[in-house]
Amino acid sequence: MATATFEPLPANLAEIQVKIEGHARDYGLDFYPTIFELIDADQLNAIAAYGGFPTRYPHWRFGMEFEQLNKGYTYGLQKIYELVINNNPCYAYLMRCNSFVDQKLVMAHVYGHCDFFKNNYWFSQTNRKMMDEMANHGNRIRRYMDRFGVDTVETFIDACLSVEDLIDIHSPFVKRFDQPSRYDFERAHDEDESTGAPGRFHSKDYMDSFINPPHVLAAEADKLRQQQVKQTRFPPEPVRDVMLFVLENAPLRPWQLDVLSIVRDEAYYFAPQGQTKIMNEGWASYWHSTIMTRQGLEAADVVNYCDHHSGTLASSPTKLNPYKVGIELFRDIEDRWNKGRFGKEYDECDDWSKKRDWDTGAGLGRQKIFEVRKIHNDLTFIDEFLTLDFCRQHKLFSFGYNPANDAYEIESREFPKIKQQLLFQLTNLGRPMISVRDGNYKNRGELFLEHTFGGVELKTSYAHDTLANLYALWGRPVHIETVLDGTRTILSFDGGEHQTEKCGEVDE
């Protein structure tokens, strides 16, 4: 569809695109060719519902998403100004009814995103031809729907989507396992050997206890035994990528495997966007603000621009605005590195007034923020650059739910707590950490997952339903070990009923 309805931008917009792109390049932004398309609110909401890809596979939840967006737009609660797709070339959709100033601002904003997509390390492994890939996914799934029935395929997609966040977001960058070598014949006949005792050195009798000390031998034997257990364990190490594990080991039919792999590919494609929400929006806002206020604005645009810009950055007490935090942090970093406010000497300085007036004239700000946008994600970004001063200046606080008043209340203004809360929310995209511990639980081919408990419990109603969907994929009973009310608990689903088994206190 993207190509079918494609029409070049009207002359006046094409003209500002050239200008804004020129400014962006002059500042050193580096991006794939960017194609703008002008579309109506309806279409924009539809494309947004599809996560940016008009050719995506059909599924009812996109319809649900669309209805929510459309309602929000009709009631004037929200408006999407633009949508950018991480792709080469970069596609950006502009809302037709944006005012002229808005279009300028949005274009500048888009170039910020495009630069970020291309250069941020966390996006480096994403498919840059995703527009085509998604269309292929769509076609494949449509074909399966024709062959096996819409309901069958859709229900299966539902099950896949239920575990779409159980992926290993770092795996594109790390080699988790050694590929088993095809020429490793040891494994085939080591059964009789592996039971043996640890090797001994040759020695004279009287030297034996020195050359082969008993405690070392015992430790060695222990190690061997453990290794053996590990080898028989399946998987040998807990696996974070539950989807992959299911894909490789579940008894699924070819079309089901294909659908599951499609859902998994898309989850990996979208993961970096979740990992860099604050940075990405902050970076784009930083650049629209810089480009607009230095070059882009005409005198008559100023009021409209300010109105829009402040709307974008508005913050609310219950939700931290990623645009706001992002842009302010980038500015803070730029300022600190311009004035040399970093490093050992600055950190160890105790003199308040000296610190306040600290300015070595280092002028490294721009360079630093470009470096930051290249290597960080939200988690490391906040961890590294959120400072006490920043928290105070921007009046950050942490809040929590108080059941006594049925209300969310401000909990603390202490810097460590705020930072910890923020980091917690960003860890693993704010989702529980779950891995496969045993794919052959009780030697009955049951799937055993483990929730790495970090102080916050799972929502049981959702956990039950997720297990049910996982069962649909795995085909055998599924379990998850977690902590509920301070007790180790195993939630299970065997295709018929849910079971909750308490198995002892949590060891602190």
């Binding site: 569809m1 309806d42 279409q43 539809a46 599809y50 059909p58 009812w60 939840r61 996109f62 319809g63 669309f66 209805e67 539902d158 989507l161 239920s162 575990v163 779409e164 966040d165 005198a299 008559a300 913050s315 609310s316 007490p317 219950t318 931290l320 605005n321 706001k324 921007h394 009046k395 950050l396 606080f397 942490s398 809040f399 929590g400 739910y401 108080n402 059941p403 049925d406 209300a407 969310y408 209340e409 401000i410 909990e411 809360q421 704010g430 989702r431 529980p432 916050v456 419990e457 799972l458 929502k459 049981t460 109603s461 959702y462 039950h464 339903d465 997720t466 049910a468 969907n469 998850i480």
Partner: protein
């Protein structure tokens, strides 16, 4: 556009889920929340895709703004539905979906296989309606017509030569402001009046009233989908009857005896006075535990047969079972079999509301 397909698929699924669970919604009226005049929100189980996610003690976050620790910043929306609910009701993750009353009525109609109602002689009935079709120079700010006001201001500035094209600042003054205004229009419409009667004598407890309220919601919903204009009136009675508003209707408790004829008299007067049968489709729903005073039965039936039944589309009598047992009044209405306008049903408990709706509305009158 492809999204249309996914959207209709979504709506189809919602509809399917509502139909599947309709009996539950009917008997637990409180599950359905009102959203404005035409919308209801319905919690639908297992609609959104479930994931492993954090539960109630993970609801914190970081915010920005003024305030001391302890300052409330937002209302809690219950995630897990209270402490006890967790775990006790597996697989109860819910999504609230907004559905229009019209759609809800349609689903009800399909599921209960209700016939559509044929309104009686209505073509010449006119209803006054307000329509925002004109513009005035004064009015409340909430009705200000932005574009017209802007155009007036622009026109004034251009004609008085204060408009600078390079710096277009258009500020409306009082004279420029324009407001939307309404006109009364007469539209032909089929109108219906519902008259609810309830026994509030000592033997009717809150449970019985809950049943009545639940039944009334669905009766309203269905009739509203069949008629454009709907008037509701409420009558309560023990030994004496009076007309009350909706709030009082559901919350009054008297201790007197029961004289059904008193309610019938008020009802008959109401029809005479306010709802001339030639213009209105009249529906009466009466709820009682049937424990009428014996000597009153004859009088009641006389009123019913002569003063009420000839004028109404439908008269429904629902006998709810109270802790003191069920009365005899329903027996004296045995002639209902030969009288198509009279329908009776016994409602033993909340679950029976579903069946009673079918009995009441299944006549298509």
């Amino acid at each position: 556009m492809r999204i249309e397909h996914d959207l209709s698929r979504f709506k189809q699924i919602v509809r399917g889920k509502i139909r599947q669970n309709l009996r539950k919604y009917v008997t637990n009226g409180e599950m359905i929340g009102r959203k404005g005049r035409d919308l209801v929100s319905i919690p639908i189980p297992q609609l959104d895709v479930p994931h492993f996610r954090y539960g109630k003690n993970g609801n914190g976050g970081v915010g920005q703004g003024d305030g001391e620790p302890g300052t409330p910043i937002g209302k809690g929306d219950d995630g897990e539905g209270g402490a006890g609910a967790a775990g006790s009701d597996p697989g109860a993750h819910l999504l609230e979906v907004e559905v229009s009353l019209e759609e809800l009525a349609a689903i009800l109609g399909e599921e209960l296989e209700l016939p559509r109602i044929e309104p009686k002689g209505t073509a010449n009935i006119e209803q006054e309606k307000s329509r925002y079709t004109s513009i005035r120079r004064s009015g409340p700010e909430s009705l200000r017509h932005f574009k017209r006001t802007y155009m007036e201001a622009l026109r004034r500035q251009i004609s008085s030569n204060t408009y600078v094209p390079d710096r277009p600042r258009v500020v409306p003054i009082r004279d420029d402001k324009r407001y939307r205004a309404w006109n009364e229009v007469n539209l032909p419409e089929a109108n219906a009046a519902i008259i609810y009667m309830m026994d509030v004598s000592g033997s009717m407890t809150d449970d019985q009233k809950e049943i009545v309220r639940t039944a009334a919601f669905w009766l309203d919903t269905w009739l509203r989908s069949q008629y454009k204009g709907l008037e509701r009136r409420y009558i309560i009675h023990d030994a004496a009857a009076k007309e009350v508003d909706e709030e009082t209707f559901y919350h009054t408790r008297e201790s007197g005896g029961t004289r059904i004829s008193s309610a019938y008299r008020v009802c008959a007067e109401l029809i005479n006075r306010t709802f001339p049968p030639s213009e209105w489709n009249i529906y009466c729903f009466q709820f009682s535990d049937g424990d009428n005073w014996g000597e009153d039965n004859e009088r009641s039936l006389e009123l019913l047969k002569n003063e009420i039944l000839p004028h109404v589309n439908l008269f429904c009598y629902g006998q709810v079972e109270s802790p003191y047992g069920s009365g005899e009044f329903i027996r004296s209405l045995d002639f209902a079999e030969d009288e198509p306008r009279l329908v009776t049903a016994e409602i033993e408990n909340k679950e029976a509301v579903y069946g009673c709706l079918k009995t009441f509305l299944g006549t298509g009158a």
